[in-house]
């Protein structure tokens, strides 16, 4: 199996036969997935099919029970791997934003570069302000997360991850908790990121968005990758009956 034949260079993320169970229930049953540098990959599938768990395994928030995950050559689940090195490469945005509610927007973005990377304050602040502009939140620097709408908070969360200059961004159903009218402002931000060449892995229910932005689409069901294909092929000519049934339901 050679999921991403489009690139000759080694993939940035390489998952092989990943297994993971919670309380005896196997949620990942041997998942293989490759993400090339600069590629946008969408993972779609019914709820509970293990999509979010896979993302959490990729950045080491959850341990795996079998298989292997490599990010840019680092073995994620080797105890000898430097956690910090891994987390600098992988940024993650959560469904519930998870901003630090006691810090302003600017501080939220600056905290990790200051405390974790120990970079000079002036440099970090300049970068943070640039990122705030990038996600179109100028003027909100000194607001607290509790004062922002869901869409605004989610854009701060994206900026916060970007401030660590990751090589890949993981988006875990980032629009699922948002009001319909604020979904688009977050999607615009992600679309811009993708256009700049950022490697992105998105777990999403926004099929239209996936179709537009993804290079490659993976479809999961019951802990397995059922089908994967370039986005156009995937949506136009799905092969597996489970994919066909799912797409028929959501499109």
């Amino acid at each position: 199996m050679n999921p991403s034949a489009a690139t000759r260079r080694p993939p940035l993320i390489r998952c092989r036969e990943v297994r993971k169970s919670f309380n005896g229930v196997e949620v990942l049953r041997g998942v293989c997935l490759d993400v090339a540098r600069g590629e946008v990959v969408c993972i779609i599938g019914p709820s509970g099919s293990g999509k979010s768990t896979l993302l959490r395994c990729i950045n080491g928030l959850a341990r795996i029970d079998g298989g292997s995950i490599h990010v840019d050559g680092l073995d994620v689940h080797d105890p000898a791997t430097d956690r910090l090195a891994l987390r600098r490469k992988v940024g993650m945005v959560f469904q519930q934003y998870n901003l630090f509610p006691h810090k302003t927007v600017l501080k939220n973005i600056m905290m990790a570069p200051l405390h974790v990377l120990r970079e000079p304050r002036a440099e970090v602040e300049a970068r943070a302000r640039a990122l705030i502009a990038k996600v179109r939140l100028q003027g909100k620097e000194d607001a607290y997360p509790g004062e922002l709408s869901g869409g605004q908070q989610q854009r701060v969360a994206i900026a916060r991850s970007l401030a660590m200059r990751p090589e890949v961004m993981l988006f875990d159903e980032v629009t699922a908790a948002l009001d319909p009218e604020t979904v688009s402002e977050v999607l615009v931000t992600i679309r811009e990121l993708a256009a700049e060449g950022m490697t992105c892995v998105l777990v999403t229910h926004e099929m239209g968005f996936a179709r537009e932005v993804a290079d490659h689409v993976y479809f999961t069901d019951a802990g397995l990758i059922v089908e994967h294909a370039p986005a156009a092929d995937f949506f136009n000519r799905p092969h597996d009956p489970r994919t066909q049934a799912f797409l028929a339901k959501v499109l």
Partner: protein, 248 residues
């Protein structure tokens, strides 16, 4: 100004017999003031120490080792469910004599003063309450917020210090405030081991001046003012800590 005030109180004594000696007699005033200062000093030291003990204790309660958790729980339960006064006697009279040194005349002298024992005792007493308070606060911080910090590269300790603890502090602030008020009130128990704090010096003063009712009122009002002042300070800090859009 001060002299006029002193004269007024001396005059009050002559006219009515109400003897507020601490307001006109320089010796008693100095004695009383030193007592107030000692109470404030003791309270300040205990506040800092007990908050640190609480933070460390609460962190250890989240340890992955069962024996560490059991040890912290045992400390909390033992301290909470026994009288602070007997704890103080246990330390000062029971343990104190064993930690002694011989002076030039060959007599044993305790190395640790009553004041220090009182600070140790009250700090650990309140530290036990603070441990529980902080633990409840930490448990109220959503696990996802901690995960977000970890995914940004924070270590477990880093996430605790920069994200979980500041949030837990805000959640547990009212309860913490209450613990610390009880701590300030508790400092008067140091009277029992002759630490010259407010109550003790006042006892000396009323024994000399035979003005028990007046001094008793002075003591009561002093403590109420001290605690009210502290409450006002805590309310200020709470306002400073308050974050818009965060419900605590």
């Amino acid at each position: 100004m001060m002299e006029a005030l002193a004269r007024w109180f001396a005059d009050l004594h002559e006219r009515t017999g109400i003897n507020l000696v601490v307001f006109y007699d320089p010796f008693d005033a100095a004695r009383f003031f030193r007592g107030v200062l000692l109470t404030v000093e003791m309270a300040a030291l205990c506040i800092v120490a007990s908050v640190l003990i609480g933070a460390v204790g609460a962190w250890l309660q989240g340890s992955r080792w069962r024996c560490v958790r059991a040890l912290v729980n045992a400390y909390v339960e033992l301290v909470r469910n026994t009288p602070s006064m007997i704890q103080l006697y246990f330390l000062f009279f029971g343990l104190g004599p064993y930690i002694a040194a011989h002076n030039a005349h060959g007599q044993a002298e305790p190395l640790i003063s009553g004041f220090t024992w009182a600070v140790v005792c009250f700090s650990f007493y309140t530290g036990a309450f603070n441990t529980e308070t902080f633990r409840a606060g930490i448990d109220a911080v959503p696990r996802q917020t901690e995960e977000a910090a970890e995914s940004l590269g924070y270590t477990r300790l880093g996430a605790y210090l920069y994200v979980v603890l500041p949030l837990a502090l805000r959640i547990s602030f009212p309860a913490l405030s209450n613990n610390l008020v009880n701590l300030i009130k508790m400092t008067s128990v140091a009277y029992a081991i002759a630490v010259p704090e407010i109550l003790y010096v006042s006892n000396q003063i009323w024994s000399d001046a035979l003005n028990v009712p007046e001094m008793m009122n002075v003591v009561l009002v002093s403590y109420v003012l001290l605690v009210s002042g502290f409450n006002a300070l805590m309310a200020r800090i709470e306002r400073r800590l308050r974050v818009p859009g965060l419900g605590c």
